[in-house]
Symmetry: C2
Subunit: 277 residues, 2 copies
Amino acid sequence: MTRDPDDGVELLWREKEHEPRRGLTTGRIVRAAVELADAEGLEGLSMRKVADRLGFTTMSLYRHVPGREQLIELMLDEVMGEHPRPQEGEAGWRTRLEAVARQAWELRRRHPWMAEVRGTRHVPGPNGVAHYDHMLAALAGTSLRPSEVIAAIALVGRFVDAEALVLVETQREERRSGVSEQEWWGARESLYERLDRYPTLTHLWECGGWDQPEDSFEFGLARVLDGIEALINKRDETRDDSCQECGTPLEPAPSGRPRVYCSRACRQRAYRNRRRP
Amino acid sequence: MTRDPDDGVELLWREKEHEPRRGLTTGRIVRAAVELADAEGLEGLSMRKVADRLGFTTMSLYRHVPGREQLIELMLDEVMGEHPRPQEGEAGWRTRLEAVARQAWELRRRHPWMAEVRGTRHVPGPNGVAHYDHMLAALAGTSLRPSEVIAAIALVGRFVDAEALVLVETQREERRSGVSEQEWWGARESLYERLDRYPTLTHLWECGGWDQPEDSFEFGLARVLDGIEALINKRDETRDDSCQECGTPLEPAPSGRPRVYCSRACRQRAYRNRRRP
DNA sequence: CTTTCGCTGTTTATGCCGTACACGAAGTAA
DNA sequence: TTACTTCGTGTACGGCATAAACAGCGAAAG
């Protein structure tokens, strides 16, 4: 369908097609696929079922979408558009980063299959890039180095995805089997009989460690943010000591944005170095 | 094959079978499957290929293993046995926790398919439980509450898995396509042309944020451990203030293990409350 | 008007996959 | 011997993605 099958950028970034009254459209296929995946998960998403849902044959889809893989990329960008408008509050980095993490989490609760998508070579669509830019912005104003900003955002993103993945798996298995997670594990008595030999496990068990478990997402998010905060604090400490370009010590600005360069000259030199290294 | 197909505990925890000179065995099937998954990933693991590798028919496997799902659980416990013996050093919690995280990471580099296994209802085998106990032990001696110990270990575990998952995916796609990750993203020029409108992204790009990216695993591990450390410090601060049972302030122990209860009576009362709430 | 061509949807077929089921051979106990 | 269990095999079914050839249809060109 696409002339450039290996790529897929065009399909993701093209203008919105005008939709004829009847017949197939990439957009209609994508929306039907999203509905299906919402209901049955990514495993349950098959070209046949999408086609059935639309009342066409399986192969008709291939006229509008190169294949299943590409369809999933289109679905991803479609739902990325559901992110709320980034409102430009002047809150601190932690408030903002926590907010975007919760937004991503919320989105994955609405579309659990998002966390199930595998593969590292997904070209982001316009909605995906907008959200990524929004996430980066939360940390861009801190004392972190650029590469650290990127790594920290990737860490938070992976954390949310991992958390969403276990959530969707438990929920799906609960719905499929009709047995709740607690009940299922409670019924594995033949397992617990054999755990006496493991000292820490039994000790924590007797202390009631499993009686009121922590909320996995809340606990993990707080730890990850704390970890990023620790790094920012470290960078803050060492930042004001010396000019980022020439290394000579610089006196702190009395108010406003903290200084990074000792002089206009150094700032300009750093800028040039960045532009054409 | 198993009388209790829904369960699977017996299959995982039974004694080692003695292996006849020829013919199929659960153990031989599992080992062949591990080899296959090491080479081709979990996607490439099919009952047919395992059987071929052993020189038997596909269906013969079902005499020894209930199905693919169960086979994967057996594989998991098999490779869990490769963890190095837990040596009882008296290092601090951070050293120990970092060590187990790196061990898990190392194991996932040897068997990349481990991170691809999905599902939350995997009965752990003896090797898996031993390793879990070992991880818990790293944090059990700290001031964290039991539920927090468990949550923190789960967080670290999920972090390692998530990290391993993206690693295996990049590597597999690199091998399959013959194009390195850098080359592939570099070739997406039609994408970069459209990224001008995203301010933070372009700013970080111009700052060279992507030129020397952080090591994803090292960066993330440090952040997560920092986050756990922050919580431990907080618990340490508030710990000595008051008895965990009755709340009255308690004087710190002059040496040895820090006190948690103000009196023997409170300790006993807490114990009883834990046993029968 | 007719011919041509490109777009769209259909039909058919190929090659994977997990596994249910019936069968036969071989070993074991009565 | 007979009866019964264990183990491996062969066939078959339904599901999956998708390749390839084909048919209708609208628009443009002659």
